[in-house]
């Protein structure tokens, strides 16, 4: 990486002539250690990360063994290090050794002295593509050199320079969703940054004979910047404002539901939403759908149908629901147990817009009884749970098996539907 010497070598030679004791010490050190470095031009180098354990670091070489030795006792986070070797964010101003913005503090990190150089490893890895200004001041060595500051601007290669991330799916994915929809998942092809969906997602109502008139429905979503990303940042959860979804309450009476049955909408996702590399999306995404009547009934297990596989096969067990259940929660809220409580391992799939859940077991089914196990936190995209609608009046609340009911671990509150597997 870039290096400048500013004639330090000439001045150093002059300094050595003025300081005979220093020359003696230097000769002694050179004689005593064959590998000891000889002083040369100051060289600033950025070393890319060699492994996960060895992050990128900066080295300053060209120092004599005596100079390095004089620094070796200094603690790695000693407050005097930045005066000698200062790393700051930005390009700097280049040639004169002055930094672009001296008011900003130095990058924090650990200093070390190797056999041949001073090294600086930042507390957090250097950002790819970001310029850093490195300034080494020889006059701040334990035995000062009367030389100008040596400065260099360094940067690691940028990781991504072209937009490539796209929206891959929106759930619920069906053409019609209930007007009291509470939750939408937006899935991406690669990890996204930290930006919250509120800034980039719009609910657009379509009207006119060909749907050509567009009107943005403002205030449709929960006004929350909380982290609604999945752990890997490939899925974002968008909540409609429950204050508007629920009937009869103040925001609902004031503005109505964001979705109205019979109306057509587009969920418009702007390309300015940036991914984890700071790149915008490759393209705008528009998910068109229609709002249907509200679904405000609890999930009823009695409405489910189980297609049983045959014993001795690895046939797929399919459970059909009369309406879409929640795409995210389904994956972890349904399972199958053998009669002795052993969990059946296998591959889970969701089909037909989350109206079918299936399990293909790793091992063949045995003749006998099994239980389909539904956790009480299972919801549909409207927030309705098993035996309990999202909106419940006080006098209707009889069920004390709600998620998190005090006194029992939630796993013990699961619902179980028994079924038998017989011969083909």
């Amino acid at each position: 990486m870039g290096t400048r010497n500013d004639g330090a070598g000439t001045r150093r030679a002059a300094l050595l002539h003025r300081l005979p004791a220093f020359r003696v010490l230097l000769l002694f050190t050179l004689a005593g250690c064959a590998r000891a470095p000889e002083p040369g031009p100051i060289q600033i180098t950025l070393h890319p990360a060699a492994s996960r354990a060895q992050a990128a670091y900066v080295s300053v070489s060209g120092l004599s063994a005596a100079e390095l030795s004089g620094l070796r006792q200094r603690a790695s986070t000693d407050a005097t290090w930045p005066a000698l070797l200062k790393v700051t964010v930005g390009e700097g101003s280049g040639g004169d050794g002055h930094l672009a913005d001296d008011s900003l503090p130095a990058v924090q990190g650990r200093y070390a002295v190797t056999e041949s150089a001073i090294t600086f490893t930042p507390l957090f890895p250097f950002d790819p593509g970001r310029p850093y200004q490195i300034a080494f001041d020889p006059s701040r060595l334990p035995r000062p050199r009367q030389a100008a500051i040596v400065a260099a601007a360094v940067r690691l290669p940028a990781v991504a320079t072209e937009p490539s991330t796209v929206v891959t799916a929106v759930h619920p994915a069906g053409d019609v969703v209930p007007e009291n929809l509470l939750r939408v998942y937006i899935e991406f092809s690669a990890p996204m940054g930290n930006g919250a969906g509120l800034d980039f997602v719009k609910l657009v109502e379509l009207s006119g004979p060909d749907g050509g008139t567009e009107r943005v429905e403002s205030g449709a979503f929960l006004p929350v910047e909380a982290n609604f990303w999945s752990p890997d940042h490939t899925r974002y959860t968008l909540f409609f404002d429950p204050g508007r979804v629920k009937e009869g309450i103040f925001p609902n009476r004031q503005s109505g539901r964001p979705l109205k049955a019979g109306h057509r909408y587009v969920l418009d996702i702007a390309p300015e939403w940036t991914d984890a590399h700071g790149q915008p999306l490759l393209a705008r995404y528009r998910h068109a759908f229609r709002a249907g009547p509200a679904v405000d009934e609890p999930i009823a297990l009695s409405d489910w149908t189980i297609t049983r596989p045959a014993a001795g096969t690895r046939g797929r067990l399919a459970v059909r629901f009369p309406r879409s259940l929640d795409h995210g929660i389904l994956v972890r809220a349904l399972g199958v147990e053998a009669a002795d409580g052993t969990r059946i391992q296998g591959e889970i799939a969701l089909e037909a817009h989350d109206t079918v859940w299936s399990l293909t077991p790793v091992a063949p089914w045995q003749t006998g009884e099994y239980n389909l196990v539904a956790q009480p936190f299972l919801e549909d995209p409207q927030g309705n749970q098993i035996g309990r609608a999202f909106e419940v009046f006080a006098n209707e609340l009889k069920d004390d098996r709600a998620p998190g009911s005090a006194g029992k671990p939630e796993a013990d509150l699961a619902y179980r539907v028994r079924f038998t597997v017989g011969a083909p």
Partner: protein, 369 residues
């Protein structure tokens, strides 16, 4: 710049700390270790003897950190720092867009402020903790050197390990009161509200107590509104939790009713409604001119000052409120604008992180209203 602790007081504190129990010694059930491997750092809160509780939402843990000597040595107090996010970004080797402030907490011993940061974007974001002292000096805390204990929050069961579990939780607040650490949170899947509590020193997490409330503005029984901010509070001699929910009811729960063994969901008492379209950020209690107040910062409705004298006797809201607000009286504090984080600095001042004209956040000591 202001500093609120006299040097003599600091020296007295330094002398006392030698005799105070530390995290390492008071924890009889979970052994203290060094170097917590934080995946994220979220809400912060100080407990007795300078223990710093730090939530790690990604790992589903709450840490009790012993800051040791890294809590001391700075000038007492907290000085104003303009555009602190830019300065922190520079120290962490990046720009302000990569710095996401997750909380602010004041160490009552030194009145220094601690700022929790997530540095970077997406799944690669990493936690950082910094201290700001009475001279405005910002110091990174080397968390790998800290003694700590931790507790895992109870996770919802996954019925099938094969499914791709994309659930994440966000811990919205952590506080210590009466021998227990309390934490509120929400998830990116089920629209659930959880108020957990666990005895400290940590043994193992309770199963978690979920609290149901009447949302007076909503008429219906609001079973699953996320709680965003809360504060332990005593009415008479009885310990309570005062919680603030989305859009923004204020609800009180007697701690005695939140016992995990009670067997039934508990309904809190809604005593105030502060208007829709906002979420609470932080709450602090303070006294001024002999009266006690609750100061609450909100995302879109600014800072509100609420006298606490009516908390014990306020009529519960169970019927629809016909206007935006109702219940216990409050007044808005227009002088505290764009507040994103709030904590109590001392008897007369709060400390806030507020939107800066330069685009980042300013750290400011603000006189209590």
């Amino acid at each position: 710049m202001r500093s609120s602790v006299k040097i003599a007081a600091v020296l007295a504190f330094v002398a006392l700390t030698a005799y105070l129990p530390t995290v390492a010694t008071v924890s009889t059930r979970v052994a203290a270790a060094a170097g917590p491997e934080l995946q994220s750092i979220g809400p912060l809160s100080f407990g007795p003897a300078g223990v710093l509780y730090a939530a790690d939402s990604l790992a589903g843990k709450i840490y009790a950190l012993d800051l040791g000597t890294q809590a001391t040595g700075g000038a007492p107090g907290t000085a104003n720092v303009a555009n602190i996010t830019q300065k922190i970004a520079a120290m962490l080797g990046t720009d302000a867009l990569q710095v996401n402030v997750t909380d602010l907490a004041v160490d009552a011993r030194t009145h220094n402020s601690f700022v929790a940061i997530m540095r970077g974007q997406g799944p690669d974001a990493r936690p950082a903790l910094l201290r700001v002292d009475g001279a405005g000096k910002i110091t990174t805390i080397d968390t790998s050197a800290l003694q700590f204990t931790s507790v895992d929050l109870p996770n919802l069961p996954a019925a099938n390990a094969q499914g791709r579990n994309q659930r994440a939780q966000a811990i919205t607040q952590v506080k210590y009161a009466n021998g227990r650490v309390w934490a509120s949170g929400l998830s990116n899947e089920e629209f659930a509200s959880k108020l957990w509590s666990v005895a400290y020193p940590f043994a193992k997490a309770d199963a978690g107590t979920s609290v149901e409330i009447y949302h007076g503005n909503h008429q219906q029984l609001e079973t699953r509104a996320p709680m965003y901010a809360f504060i332990p509070y005593s009415i008479g001699n009885e310990p309570y939790v005062i919680g603030a929910y989305l859009c923004t009811p204020l609800v009180k729960f007697p701690v005695s009713a939140l016992k995990p063994a009670s067997g039934k969901p508990y309904r809190g008492t809604t005593i105030g409604e502060f208007g829709a379209g906002s979420r609470p950020i932080d709450m602090i209690l303070y006294k001024k001119n002999g009266k006690e107040f609750l100061l609450m910062a909100n995302t879109t409705r600014g800072v509100m000052k609420i006298p606490t004298e009516g908390f014990g006797t306020a009529a519960p809201i169970t019927m629809p409120v016909t206007s935006e607000t109702g219940g216990v009286p409050f007044e808005k504090v227009p002088s505290m604008a764009r507040v994103q984080q709030l904590d109590l600095l001392d008897a007369t001042h709060s400390v806030v992180l507020a939107g800066s004209n330069a685009g980042g956040l300013d750290l400011q000591a603000v006189e209590l209203p």
